[in-house]
């Protein structure tokens, strides 16, 4: 015969507790039970911490807890223990809510008593299956990330040699080039660079999901970083007007300079992609009331319809309605921006009107804003 099931019965009413015990022992076919009883939530949490239980039977209304809060706190205390809720006839709503939040089942006292043994058996079985499923899903995600990291790494070697050999030819190490040969090699090089950016994005995006990349925090002047990124971008898109409105007297950013540059680069690449020739791209920065810096990248492009705005920071999001020529890249750029800004403790959002351009805004901490936040947290 199977070992007795260890049950935790959380029930403050002695009469109800006795009835439950009787129901459990009346059906011998259902097996043996070892029942520990608690009358308060605090006592139940203590018992769950001290011993192993196969399941918990939990009344909702207790001296120190009520409603769906009770099963929620039991599950927090012992996530591996399946919970069956006990409820009165008039308290169905809270029981239904508890089940929606993760309790396995609920029983109405005075009505479902005969079902208690079966309900517990099912609860234990179902809970075990769900946990197995969770573990399998986590393992699958980890494997996927390891796989992407491995192929990205494997892609870097052929990319590095393609880059080297193409630039070697372009610099005429192997002899003079005709105009046509040069043009063709320039195309190869542009594509090698595109591949490289995509692989970098892929690695960055998988990394932020599994192990958070560590930030190398230090103070640096924002205007220099903006100027550096813009210089690179303006030479790639000369058909646009570029404006930089970043005052040099701003307090320095307290952040990871390379990562912040990455955010700017992604936002500018996007702005270029969606702004027709003759348009204007402006980078602006200012100090906010919180002491943080706000950075804006504004374009005069096609804009983003309000219904898709909330989704553009999602991983792999690409707007399916836009012209196919805009749908280049992997759809990781804004996701990476959001992750980096969040790691800095900042926020990123978009303000846009279809046809009138977009303005992406993000915040960055300064030594001042960090000190203020810490003061507020400790007071």
């Amino acid at each position: 015969m199977a070992a007795a099931l260890r049950l935790l019965l959380l029930e403050d009413n002695d009469g109800d507790a006795r009835l439950i015990r009787e129901e459990l022992t009346s059906d011998r076919r259902a097996g043996e039970y070892e029942v520990s009883r608690a009358s308060t939530l605090a006592e139940a949490v203590r018992l769950l911490g001290a011993d192993r239980y196969d399941a918990a039977l939990v009344d909702l209304t207790l001296p120190d807890s009520s409603g769906a809060d009770t099963p929620r706190r039991i599950r927090e205390a012992a996530p591996s223990v399946p919970v069956v809720v006990l409820t009165g006839l008039d308290d169905d709503d809270a029981a239904v809510r508890a089940v929606a939040e993760g309790a396995q089942d609920y029983l109405v006292k005075g009505r479902d008593g005969p079902l208690v043994a079966r309900s517990i058996r099912y609860a234990i079985e179902r809970h075990r299956l769900l946990q197995d499923l969770d573990a399998a899903r986590r393992a699958e995600l980890e494997m996927k990330d390891r796989f992407i990291s491995h192929i990205s790494h494997e892609l870097r070697n052929p990319l590095a040699s393609s880059y080297l050999i193409t630039t070697n030819l372009l610099e005429e190490f192997a002899g003079p080039l005709s105009t046509e040969q040069r043009e063709n090699l320039e195309i190869v090089l542009a594509n090698v660079n595109r591949l490289r950016e995509m692989i970098d994005d892929l690695i960055e995006a998988t990394r932020s999901e599994t192990s958070r990349a560590r930030l190398h925090l230090r103070e640096f002047p924002l205007d220099e970083t903006v100027a550096g990124v813009m210089k690179d971008m303006t030479s790639r898109a000369t058909q646009l007007t570029w404006r930089q409105e970043v005052p040099s007297g701003l307090p320095p950013v307290l952040g990871d300079r390379d990562r912040v540059a990455q955010v700017l680069r992604h936002l500018l690449v996007n702005a270029v992609k969606f702004t027709p020739p003759g348009g204007t791209i402006t980078v602006r920065a200012a100090t906010a009331a919180t002491g943080e810096l706000t950075v804006e990248v504004e374009d005069t492009g096609c804009g983003i319809p309000p219904d898709v705005q909330p989704r553009i920071f999602e991983r792999l999001y690409q707007h399916s309605q836009t012209d196919a020529r805009y749908r280049s890249g992997l759809g990781l750029g804004l996701y990476i921006c959001r992750e980096i800004v969040r790691q800095h403790g900042g926020r990123i959002w978009v303000e846009s009107e279809a046809g009138k351009g977009s303005r992406f805004v993000f915040t960055l901490p300064t030594a001042n804003s960090v000190a203020t936040t810490e003061r507020n947290a400790s007071s």
Binding site: H153, R156, N157, Y163, L164, I165, T167, N168, R196, R207
Partner: protein
Amino acid sequence: MSSRKILIVEDDAALRRGLGDRLRAKNFEPVFAVDGLSAVTVAQAERPDVVLLDLGLPAGDGFRVMERLRMIMHLAHVPIVVLTARDAQGNRDRALAAGAAAFLQKPVDNDALLAAIEQVLASPLDPGA
């Protein structure tokens, strides 16, 4: 100006060729090794001024190569530039701790590669370190 000898330790033939041609054009004299084992014997025979070292190598990875070069008296202070496809996270600190003078990730910009090599040649390792 006399050309400086650079040992390129790289198992990928296309990269050996690309790196060799580039560095030769920049007034270096490239010599090559294709795995961890030959890296040490070639270094002993050629006495390079600087080593460009891949980490993922057959027959003893880049860390093992650094370990062994550091144990050979006349090679112990030759500066090493690590050039790897591996993630910088974790590997950069480990490589620098193992005695690399610089860490670069593939694919590296040509200018950054040259700048790193020139820099480690200009400031050789502290012989007391």
